[in-house]
Amino acid sequence: MARTVKIRAHEIDGQVTVKSVINHPMETGLRKIKKTGKKIPPHFIKEVIVSRNRRIVMEAFWGKSISRNPFLSFQIAGRKGDLITISWLDNRGNSDSTSAKVR
């Protein structure tokens, strides 16, 4: 499977700004197929875990009101070369994880 997480992390004065986009449909379960009137079942990311150098930094719990292909940005302390890992888990049990170095 293609990578689902894109991460950009850069450091300025000891402060690392991380920007990431996860490829995910984030289906709310409220949308209907127009022709049949059937509801599209919910499919959304429930949890995102962020770590820096294998130490957990942030845990995000998401509901259905987060946009499709979710964007997540945050700031942490760090240095160039630190390893940022972002992993996600959705309501169907799918998951993925990607790492990137701080630039």
């Binding site: 845990e59 509901g63 259905k64 890992t85």
Partner: protein
């Protein structure tokens, strides 16, 4: 039912256990996400719906969002020792939108949210064990999503 919860638990341990041994992670706040009313959601998430307002929480969001499905939101907490940042959207079918638990010294979170209709974005910040809240009205365009 038991088997199912067990399965879920093992899945979570699968991805987290390998990466971060010895870290006790918190559970998904199911009650808060299922709540249809904001007081119920706050009660489920924090144990109280009575939270004091504070201008030290900075919320950056468009006054009028062109796409209701992608409303960019930036939140900055002005408090030291910020433990968590939560987003609640009035008017959505499930108002509780996101809960960010912060483990290191950090005070900024940005993401994109859906809004079913024009309403307020409520941000709840927990810092030093005390809850604070602030809100911003956001108007959205016509093609809303129903979330």
């Amino acid at each position: 039912m038991k088997r199912r919860t067990l399965l879920k638990a093992s899945l979570k341990l699968g991805i987290t256990g390998m990466l971060f041994p010895g870290v006790a992670l918190s559970d998904y706040p199911t009650g808060a996400f299922l709540a249809k009313q904001i007081p119920d959601a706050l009660q489920a998430a924090f144990g109280t719906a009575d939270i004091g307002e504070s201008q030290q929480i900075e919320i950056e969001a468009p006054h009028i969002a062109s796409d209701a499905n992608m409303v960019p939101v930036r939140v900055k907490s002005g408090f030291d020792n910020t433990e968590s940042i939560s987003l609640v959207v009035t008017g959505n079918e499930s108002p509780f939108t996101a809960y960010f638990k912060l483990y290191e010294e950090q005070n900024f979170v940005s993401t994109r949210i859906r809004m079913a209709e024009s309403g307020d974005l409520l941000v709840v910040v927990k810092a030093d064990g005390v809850l604070h809240t602030n809100q911003r009205p956001i108007r959205v365009g016509r093609n809303s999503c129903g979330a």
